[in-house]
Amino acid sequence: MIRQKKGWNQRLFLLCCAGIFIAALLGITAAGAMWEEKALQTDFSRKNMAPCIQYPFGTDWMGRDMFIRTITGLSLSIRLGLFTAVISAGIGAVIGVSAIMGKWVDGVMGCMIDLVMGIPHMLLLILISFAVGRGFWGVAVGISLTHWTSLARLLRAEALQLKESPYVAIARKLGKGWGYIAGKHMAPHLLPQLLVGTVLLFPHAILHEAGITFLGFGLSPEQPAIGVILSESMGHLMMGRWWLALFPGALLAAVVMMFHVIGNTVAGVLNPKQAHS
């Protein structure tokens, strides 16, 4: 009994954490969207300042407030991550579930999954970005087209298993159409998986967005993206301006971690097997 009570508390604790994190992420997104012009403001009277109370993250060589730049960059990353993760999850759902349409379709889809997984992620992003012609759309298209594979695999396995399950077979024998079965028997199993998979896609999408932007394929240098900030800071590390790289990256890691925790919490809450723990 005592263990059960403790477990319930842990569940509540995780839910509270997730709630706080969601609020924090929303706050960052909103603040960044509002500060977009402020982030580009240069003021040469305050350049190269180490972190202080007025500028908690310091300022760069053009006198831009690094705190505001970082928040704006994160906001951009979160919005781009949401956008690409949702599209990617959509692709994954279509490809994964279409596996039940027959052996031939399944074979083609499996081949597509292997194909996308066969090229290292970063290299595929470079290729797609090159094909689209770099810039914002290069990143958006690249990340949307490359992150669906693991989710598609998961949903495929689940859908195939469902198709073979006794209750689906019985429903077929009772003369129910595929539409009915899909809505009544498959969706309740697949939708939670899809939701969790989508949330857990964000961290990857955001990290890869930062990476590809860092390499110089993504957003233009005027955009206050985290990748741009970090790649600019490389030239200034040698002069001991550590704050240019430390804080933006640490905050990015924190944002990604919040997404991880939210995803795991959602997974735990939706999983009926863990409902008692």
């Binding site: 066969g118 094909a131 390499l215 925790v261």
Partner: protein, 338 residues
């Protein structure tokens, strides 16, 4: 593993090889099509706008024929793939040398780095995962879980930047970048020099790749420890060490092997970023340069080579599993006799 239960080892191998060849062909085809989609005009990119303006129409037509402007991408692909198959990968536009040579040189630098990161992250991740999973809920488990979460959230290149800042700029223990010391002749570079230059990139790469294998192994280990056979072994009075060694290890090893060989692709991707931070002259850095500079032959060459490496890793995992797993061995023997 799937699909091999009713075939002999020979047929299993042959099937894998055919599948791999088809996939590599498909990868090269898609990569080629992607690159042909690019709005970058090969003439203006390689000859230059001003030089083009001063040329006669005949010269431009000759150049267009050379670069394959106007030829459908399918025909260009066939001629490129045919050359590639014979070992002619074309000439890199940026390095002005045969692509095969550039890749060979870069791969030699990268392979050491990637192999080190792969071995360190695999070995450490597996060991730590078993430790954490065997003592679920303990102090070590909590610390390792937290570490795994942090590392899964940290961009590898940022960690590389931090290492660079601490160990190279502040403490000056290790070199700042590049594969060899600056201003030293190629012959004078010792193995120790190369090693010193590879420490930081390899560390950044291994530290971030550890988390997935560690968390996965932990998960599997917890399943094993909660299984009926471990309960029975406990009831028989087997020691904890023996349970982990005899029951845990063999059951956790196979999925971990598959995962770690599958992680080759992730490590390759990570090395692209880490090499960029350290200006390490590896394959990843060449890919970035080729992508930014529009060096199509080099970019395609690197894509195909990396696909071979990734599929090779997956196939090695399948083969090792088939060789180690007694269940699969038995299934194959049955398949041969029936």
């Amino acid at each position: 593993m799937r699909g091999c239960s009713h075939r002999g080892l020979g047929r299993f191998l042959a099937g894998k090889c055919v599948r791999m060849a088809v996939l590599v062909l498909l990868v090269s085809f898609s990569a080629f099509m992607l690159v042909s989609l690019s709005p970058v005009d090969p003439l203006t990119a390689n000859v230059g706008q001003t030089a083009l303006g001063s040329m006669s129409p005949e010269q431009i037509a000759r150049l267009e024929a050379y670069w394959g402007v106007g030829t459908p991408p399918i025909r260009r692909f066939i001629s490129w793939a045919g050359d590639f198959f014979r070992g002619e990968m074309g000439t890199s536009l940026l390095y002005r040398r045969p692509v095969a040579l550039v890749i060979q040189e870069r791969l030699a630098n990268s392979l050491g780095l990637m192999a080190a990161a792969w071995l360190i992250s695999g070995g450490l991740g597996f060991g730590l995962g078993i430790w954490a999973g065997a003592k679920k809920g303990g102090m070590a488990d909590r610390i390792l879980c937290f570490y795994g979460l942090i590392m899964a959230s940290t961009p590898g290149f940022w960690l590389a930047l931090m290492l660079l800042m601490i160990f190279a700029v502040r403490l000056q223990w290790l070199p700042v970048g590049f594969g060899v010391p600056v201003g030293v002749e190629a012959e004078a570079v010792t193995l120790a020099d190369r090693f010193r230059h590879a420490i930081l990139p390899a560390a950044a790469l291994s530290l971030t790749s550890i988390s997935s294998i560690m968390l996965h192994t932990r998960e599997k280990m917890i399943q094993v420890m909660e299984s009926d056979y471990v309960l029975y072994a406990r009831a028989r009075g087997e020691s904890f060490r023996r349970i982990v060694w005899r029951h845990g290890l063999p059951n956790v090893m196979l999925p971990a092997l598959t995962l770690q060989f599958g992680a080759v692709s992730e490590i390759f991707g990570g090395s692209v970023l880490v090499e960029q931070v350290f200006s390490y002259p590896g394959l990843g850095q060449a890919a970035v340069t080729a992508g930014l500079g529009g060096d199509v032959p080099l970019l395609l060459g690197i894509t195909v080579i990396s696909a071979w490496i990734v599929f090779g890793g997956n196939m090695t995992a399948d083969l090792l599993c088939a060789a180690i797993d007694p269940r699969l061995r038995q299934a194959q023997r049955k398949g041969q006799t029936s």
